[in-house]
């Protein structure tokens, strides 16, 4: 047993007391707890936060790239080809891909972001929204309307740090 030196023990008490004083200090003076009272106060997630995937349906060509590169295959896509009116008058009708089904199963998704990355037509986006838990696990399967609704919450991409190479316009 070491000889009890008082300072070490007292310092420990000092640290906890300091934290208590800091927590009790009014918010205005830079005090307050480190926690937030969740349903009442909310922290804003960062712009890049991977909360939920939003789908811009018009851009999607149902190319299946995202579904194929998803590591746990939780994207379900079905589509069919349709004839759309020609762009210019007199031209031949165009063939376009119509989405019948675009579901993401958030019970399986591991938020890796690969699908958003690989999409060649800019149809998928990350939104930092996170409040979509469900009492039933089956309800976590978001269909294309629901995924489309998330589009409103997608933020602008943030400015880049100094020294970064400017992105070529996509």
């Amino acid at each position: 047993m070491q000889k009890p030196r008082i300072p070490g023990l007292l310092k420990g008490l000092g640290v906890t007391f300091g934290t208590m004083a800091q927590t009790l200090k009014p918010k205005k003076l830079g005090g307050g707890a480190a926690t937030v009272q969740y349903p009442r106060e909310k922290e804003t997630p960062t712009v890049r936060a991977r909360g939920v995937i939003a789908l811009r349906e018009d851009n999607c060509t149902s190319c299946m790239l995202c579904a194929r590169s998803c590591p746990d295959w939780c994207i379900y896509i079905e589509g069919h080809k349709e004839l759309a009116p020609p762009r210019r008058a007199g031209g031949a009708p165009r063939k376009v891909n119509k989405l019948d089904r675009f579901d993401i199963d958030y019970a399986l998704c591991m938020y890796c972001g690969i699908c958003v990355d690989v999409c060649p037509f800019d149809a998928l986006f990350w939104s930092p929204e996170y409040e979509y838990s469900e009492p039933k696990i089956a309800d976590l399967l978001h269909d294309k309307t629901k995924l489309g609704e998330w589009m409103e919450t997608v933020p602008e991409a943030p400015e880049l740090e100094a020294g970064a190479e400017k992105k070529k316009g996509k």
């Binding site: 300072p7 420990g12 960062t46 590591p71």
Partner: protein, 390 residues
């Protein structure tokens, strides 16, 4: 030093005595105690089977594998970008650090090198994940020893680091930010100043923990001279990281190895401790957290400008070959041996994770100690379950 040798001798003698006790005729029946797989002290599902004589351990064996997820096999049916998302989950507290050696191995096979800016950012994030990982260890250490407050401080300040990682990569826990040939994106504006402030907070946190725990006499008397691992034994069992450095072996892959990270651009101290006991292991980690904040500060000042992505094809096919890259992860040496047959995904991946080797010393080091010390030794060896079972 003489002090230490005495202590080592004592613990050897205790171990010998424990061995001898098994053989005496009037043997009392030992009690077998399962510490885990569900036990508050093992953060995860590690099972330590110990035979007790009174409160003294006469035999111990770790039973790993309750959380085996088969990553090595999974990688064989995934493409390279998908594997990055998977290996994130090995050491879940310092997940970015798991991506780096794998990506480096793949880059080695493809013979591309990330541009300097990407390398610097990688190194910064690598150190941030080390801080996120080890600061939680510092808090958790208190819980294992009965002090409840440090863990909350750790969670409080680790949150700042996680916020930083999230604002740069998009993922708090599983960034998946590394790409073969560079990074997914550049840093968002304002990140550098923010990081500097957070590093100050983290140094403050280290001071707090030092005052609250490391300076505490009770804490010291719990850990000093307990679970001594001599340098020779540590090397034989293949320990790495802080566990090895605490035994006095000056070995750090960040400094000793030339890889495509920016460690050679900063100067930092590799801490070692001659004692090799539990206290040394914890103390080394505390110092390393401090050192990491300094490394980050230095890197932030000198970040070069330019692109963060080298020229790589959109569909990544890695040419045939084999590569081994290991880095100094928060828990110790972590490496990937990647065998590629020129496909979209690797043919075979061998993962060397630090914790698996670190707990292999458990039977040796636990023999002859008391039950309370089992906990403190396990805590000081510091393992992450995902890193053991993969």
């Amino acid at each position: 030093m003489t002090d230490l040798v005495d202590r080592q001798k004592l613990s050897y003698i205790a171990a010998q005595a424990a061995d001898a006790r098994l053989n005496v005729e009037l043997e009392t029946e030992g009690m077998t105690l399962n510490i885990g797989p569900q036990h508050p002290a093992t953060h995860g599902t590690l099972r330590i089977i110990v035979r007790l004589d009174g409160e003294q351990v006469i035999w111990a064996e770790p039973g790993a594998g309750y959380m085996h997820r088969g990553y090595e096999k999974l990688t064989e049916v995934r493409t390279f970008p998908q594997v990055t998302a998977l290996v994130n989950r090995i050491d879940w507290l310092g997940s970015f650090a798991n991506e780096v050696p794998f990506i480096l191995a793949a880059e080695k096979l493809m013979e591309v090198e990330a541009p300097p800016r990407a390398q610097w950012i990688r190194t910064i994030l690598f150190e941030l994940s080390r801080i996120a990982n080890v600061s939680l260890f510092l808090g958790d250490l208190g819980v294992q020893l009965g002090a409840i407050t440090p863990v909350f401080m750790a969670f409080r300040d680790r949150e700042y680091v996680l916020n930083l990682i999230e604002s740069a990569t998009g993922g708090r826990f599983h960034p998946n930010f590394d790409r073969i040939g560079g990074l997914k994106e550049d840093l968002p504006a304002g990140w550098i100043t923010e990081t500097k402030q957070v590093m100050k907070k983290l140094r403050n946190f280290c001071d707090e923990i030092e005052n609250l725990l490391f300076g505490n006499e009770i804490f010291q008397s719990r850990l000093r001279g307990i679970g001594v691992i001599p340098a020779e034994v540590a090397k034989q069992y293949g320990l790495s990281g802080a566990n090895l450095r605490a035994s006095g072996v000056d070995w750090d892959l960040r400094r000793d190895q030339k890889i495509a990270l920016a460690y050679d651009k900063v100067d930092f101290k590799v801490w070692t401790h001659p004692d090799g006991d539990s206290f040394a292991r914890c103390w080394i980690r505390l110092q390393e957290t401090r050192e990491a904040t300094k490394i980050v500060d230095q890197l932030l000042d000198g970040i070069p400008s330019g692109s963060v992505m080298a020229k790589v094809p959109r569909i990544i096919k890695v040419p045939e070959g084999e590569a081994w890259v290991s880095t100094e992860n928060p828990l110790g040496e972590m490496g990937y041996y990647v065998v590629s047959k020129g496909d979209l995904g690797p043919f075979r991946v061998k993962i060397r994770s630090a914790s698996f080797n670190n707990i292999s010393i458990v039977p040796w080091v636990l023999r002859g100690v008391y039950v309370p010390d089992v906990i403190s030794i396990l805590a000081s060896l510091y393992f992450i379950l995902g890193d053991i079972d993969r």
